[in-house]
Symmetry: C2
Subunit: 318 residues, 2 copies
Amino acid sequence: MEGKIAKLAIIGQGLIGSSITRAVYERRLVTTVTVTDVSDKVRKRVRELGLGHARVVDTAREAVRDADLVIACVPVGQIADVIKDIAPYLKEGAIVSDVGSVKASVVADIRPNLPEGAHLVPAHPLAGTEFSGPDAGMPRLFVKRWCILTPEEHCDADAVAKVKTFWEGLGSTVEVMSPERHDYVLAFTSHLPHMVAFSIFQTALRYEEMTEAEVIKFSAGGFRDFTRIASSNPTMWRDIFLKNREPVLSVLKMFVGDLEHLAEAIENDDGDELLKMFSSSRITRRKVIEKEHISVQQDEDDKRPDVPLLRPYASDDW
Amino acid sequence: MEGKIAKLAIIGQGLIGSSITRAVYERRLVTTVTVTDVSDKVRKRVRELGLGHARVVDTAREAVRDADLVIACVPVGQIADVIKDIAPYLKEGAIVSDVGSVKASVVADIRPNLPEGAHLVPAHPLAGTEFSGPDAGMPRLFVKRWCILTPEEHCDADAVAKVKTFWEGLGSTVEVMSPERHDYVLAFTSHLPHMVAFSIFQTALRYEEMTEAEVIKFSAGGFRDFTRIASSNPTMWRDIFLKNREPVLSVLKMFVGDLEHLAEAIENDDGDELLKMFSSSRITRRKVIEKEHISVQQDEDDKRPDVPLLRPYASDDW
């Protein structure tokens, strides 16, 4: 069918890969799905689950045979090796994609190993849960979530359109931007918050003024807001930080500068400066909350839980 | 009645003050309640609302007459002036308390102005909402929340016991510690997270790599977790940071050090160190989440909303 993918191959059946496998079946998006995973255990489990009636094969090379679209759902650090492995087995004109959280360095890693006839359309679905593995997948994981595509400028427009249609079929809203822009945007909206959350636990461990019991007891004062994102997979985040080094370091440096500016104002007893800082950002903050409120409403329609922000709560403002 | 407060005076009818007014009525905790507020508008509104059948008077001096317990529910920066004003009008043996988020400096400010017969039992209920004013008060605001008392060592044990019984009557769990300990514990669990949340919005405004629209659009990647605490009252937080200067600066310095350590590991491509950092804190993190889970369960029993942490969500781990 024009603009649609007939034969899909998914390499990797963790949370994201197995969610795609489930979703394409539930939504009847493709004609055939062939999946694989580097782990024997995972392949066995996918067969047991009978996920989306997908054909489970033992190697990536076998999975990609005749595929119109190949999606590598593997950690960012492994994508280049996967592509190198499958490159000779790709069909002429196949579209190659991924789901990684970092784009520029991954594109640079993949590009040299891609056969000339293949089209590279990297994707990053902004969705996930704190769980992993094939059992954690959910067919509606991508519904009403962003998916960012980062094709290179010279990329075949038809291939981009097909991947866009595919993700829209999974329920996502698709945004197209350059890999570099993606990495700088995500460095702020996602990578910085994770660095902050991971670091604050380091500080907790070093802070001799209070016991661990006290950290836990009184965590509702604001600290617990960091635990959600700090529960994320350490290995995955190590790879993200290392693969997105420059944007991540640049935004981290700015943030440290802003914290130091705040410290200076406190040290100088400069109440006016503090008030100016806290008030100047209120408009953006309100917009984020309003946006969030809209998204929560959507989720509620959608019967999926989320974190409501515009509600009375009773644990803050100590 | 032995161990109980008969005559209560509340100075300030904002969120906390008006919540106490509502709660003591609902729970029949005291014989009489006399309240006031420095603002004509607030006093008028409290009269209109008929809050807890409280007697509303025009001045703090009038409110404290004959009171067994006086609670100053005013911003941390104004407590000392309120105490100075009411001191000559306090009954012999009256207990004076507050609800401020900082203790050591406030105790130091109040102490010199307190008449000899009065007992100072500072309190800090760890409860609040993002709303303020007498309309925002809720009679169940303190239920299943901590209330920290910070009496001085020489303080009358009977006075401390009475204030403890009072807060337990409001539904809180009471913890007693020194003002200094309170300030260091809260500097980490509450003040640091607020500094981080306020600062990250500063960084957002300065970050030229992305538009405000993009910040808002993609905020679910972790950034939006900071919006809840960054929505807090700027004036209140200015006062807290300035009044708790030393603990706040010391914990902020540690945190900046930890961020710099993280940046160094990323810069040096030191994946092992990153993994070590992210993993070392997992036990504490899990305990906070478990604790949180328990507290969420309690809240659900209690029909009060909260932020569930142990649930599948679909916006993280990008």
